[in-house]
């Protein structure tokens, strides 16, 4: 469980976090989004206990992070942003070191390492020096360190950055699996990732929370404020002429030719003014001009568009 209340962080005069509030319930995976410099890493550093906030409260697993309670830290798995590792260690040494720091005994260490190695598919590089591993494998070592001691809460700062598409999917599935009985806060710039695995999303911008909710809630909210574009495909006269006629329709801002299925059949995207429904007018135009309508689809709002909308 993570509860952040009016968390504020100043770096000198600069306000990196400005009274942010959100909550990740136990067993939930939250996607933590925001443009570069929004304050995601700063928030996560505070939650992991690396530095205290200037003001406000951060509670992880029922403990205020400022207590610096060592028992509490055992219940947090943290993957820092740049995935720092001791390059001179082998994977085995790195995992043994983390287990020892958690105070695991020999038996539990063996068990924990075996599990983490399996979860992160590290068998093939277990005895290799980390310096000689590819970026993706290093990322997995970082992740294995974070989840080694079976923490209740995982704080993962861009866990899939630098991985190849296959690995991204694997790590995603792993996080999803781990998230079934853990609380996960996950920062990322990849929207499909959020769509695929996150139960809830919080978007921050310039140190403030600008949107929070399930992915569907966020999309619904944004749909109210910006009606999506419309894609139509029709058989008509020349492209220029068709574009001009479409543009005459009230509420239409731009018309852009998108593709052509075959000669004479073209697809256009129509950019619409906020809140105006132009579908009837388009239909009328089709009839009036004697065009043949092949397709008319209001474009779905993607999480990406929501993101761009709220962080404008």
């Amino acid at each position: 469980m993570i509860k952040v209340q009016h968390l504020t962080k100043h770096f000198g005069d600069f306000k990196a976090l400005d009274s942010i509030t959100f909550e990740v319930k136990a067993g939930e995976i939250m996607g933590f989004l925001g443009p570069n410099g929004a304050g995601k890493t700063t928030t996560m550093k505070i939650l992991a206990g690396f530095m205290p906030p200037t003001s406000g409260k951060a509670i992880v697993n029922d403990h205020n992070v400022e207590e610096q309670n060592l028992e509490m830290r055992k219940q947090i798995g943290y993957l820092p942003e740049s995935n720092p590792l001791y390059l001179d260690f082998t994977v085995e040494e790195a995992l043994q070191y983390v287990a020892a720091m958690h105070g695991l005994n020999k038996f539990n260490t063996r068990e924990a390492i075996a599990r983490a190695v399996e979860q992160c598919s590290l068998e093939s590089v277990f005895y290799k020096q980390i310096e000689n591993l590819s970026k993706g494998f290093r990322q997995r070592v970082g992740l294995a360190q974070a989840l080694l001691c079976d923490p209740k809460t995982l704080i993962l700062d861009e866990p899939t950055v630098g991985l190849d598409p296959k690995q991204i999917i694997e790590i995603r599935e792993l996080i999803q699996k781990l998230g079934k009985n853990r609380t996960v806060l996950l920062s990322t710039h990849i929207m499909q990732e959020v769509q695929a695995i996150c139960d809830t999303v919080t978007i921050i911008h310039q140190g403030k929370v600008v949107a929070s909710g399930t992915p569907d809630e966020l999309k619904a909210k944004s749909e109210e404020s910006m009606l999506g574009n419309i894609y139509i495909k029709l058989a008509a006269g020349t492209i220029k002429d068709t574009e001009a006629k479409l543009r005459e329709i009230e509420g239409v801002k731009h018309v852009v030719k998108k593709d052509s299925e075959k000669k004479g059949v073209y697809g256009f995207t129509i950019d619409v003014e906020n809140g105006v429904d132009v579908r009837e007018a388009i239909f009328d135009a089709v009839v009036k001009n004697g065009w043949k309508l092949y397709e008319m689809t209001p474009q779905q709002i993607s999480l990406e568009e929501v993101f761009l909308d709220v962080t404008k």
């Binding site: 992991a48 530095m51 060592l70 830290r73 001791y86 390059l87 001179d88 260690f89 720091m101």
Partner: protein, 234 residues
């Protein structure tokens, strides 16, 4: 407590994984061997006295080279962020690192104990000052490691950490050498500097005043390091 030991082992592993530590070890043995042989053949007496008086100045170069990486490197690579968020306290981290560097140092200085052993085969060696001298070297080295740890906590640049540690150590060394120039405060200056305490111990008589001096300097340095480590939180 076990965390301190875990960190000590980790630091030793870093030392033995890195070529720099072997280079330092090798050059230290070469240079100290040179001074040992030089003093032996020049003076032709069965005594470690002049050797033990030369070594502290050499340690001012070598010990900061051992300690410079302790925190600066972790800060630079970002592993410090991981380390301080593990379930260990900051003081355990510092003690573990301090003991790690100290262990390596003791091994390094311990190897040179073959010099007095070799010397004793040539004639009758007075072991009192020799043992005292080596104990003095351990105290002195521990102090410089403390200084080096502090210097290393100030920066992410190991070279800067080295220079700062060397400068602080050198000032303490010079202070001890300057008693005759400032007679008014000679007693104070004598107490503050490295030299007199090292000389006292290396007569073979271990006075609690000297031990107290070293222990308080180490404690002060660990305290300052802790403050500087906590400073990340500002």
């Amino acid at each position: 407590m076990t965390s301190i030991w875990t960190i000590t082992k980790k630091e030793l592993r870093h030392y033995f994984n890195s070529p720099i530590a072997y280079v330092i070890l090798f050059i230290y043995l070469a240079i100290s061997g040179y001074f040992f042989a030089y003093n032996l053949f020049l003076n032709g007496v069965v005594s470690m006295r002049s050797y033990l008086q030369t070594i502290p100045l050499i340690l001012l170069f070598f010990v900061p080279a051992l300690s410079m990486r302790l925190l600066a490197e972790e800060r630079k690579t970002g592993t410090l962020e991981h380390l301080v968020t593990l379930p260990v306290s900051d003081i355990e981290i510092l003690l573990g690192k301090f003991l790690g560097a100290l262990s390596f140092y003791v091994v390094m200085v311990g190897i040179t104990f073959i010099y007095p052993v070799a010397l004793s085969t040539l004639g009758k060696l007075d072991w009192g000052p020799v043992i005292g001298g080596y104990i003095g070297l351990v105290f002195l080295g521990a102090c410089i490691i403390g200084i080096g740890l502090f210097a290393s906590s100030l920066t992410s640049n190991q070279i800067v950490a080295f220079i700062v540690a060397f400068a602080i150590g050198f000032v303490l060394y010079l202070v001890g050498q300057s008693t005759q120039y400032i007679p008014a405060v000679a007693g104070l200056v004598d107490f503050l500097g490295f030299t007199s305490h090292f000389n006292n111990i290396s007569t073979g008589i271990i006075d609690s005043r000297d031990v107290l001096y070293y222990l308080s300097l180490i404690t002060l340095m660990l305290f300052l390091t802790l403050q500087s480590l906590l400073n990340r939180k500002k």
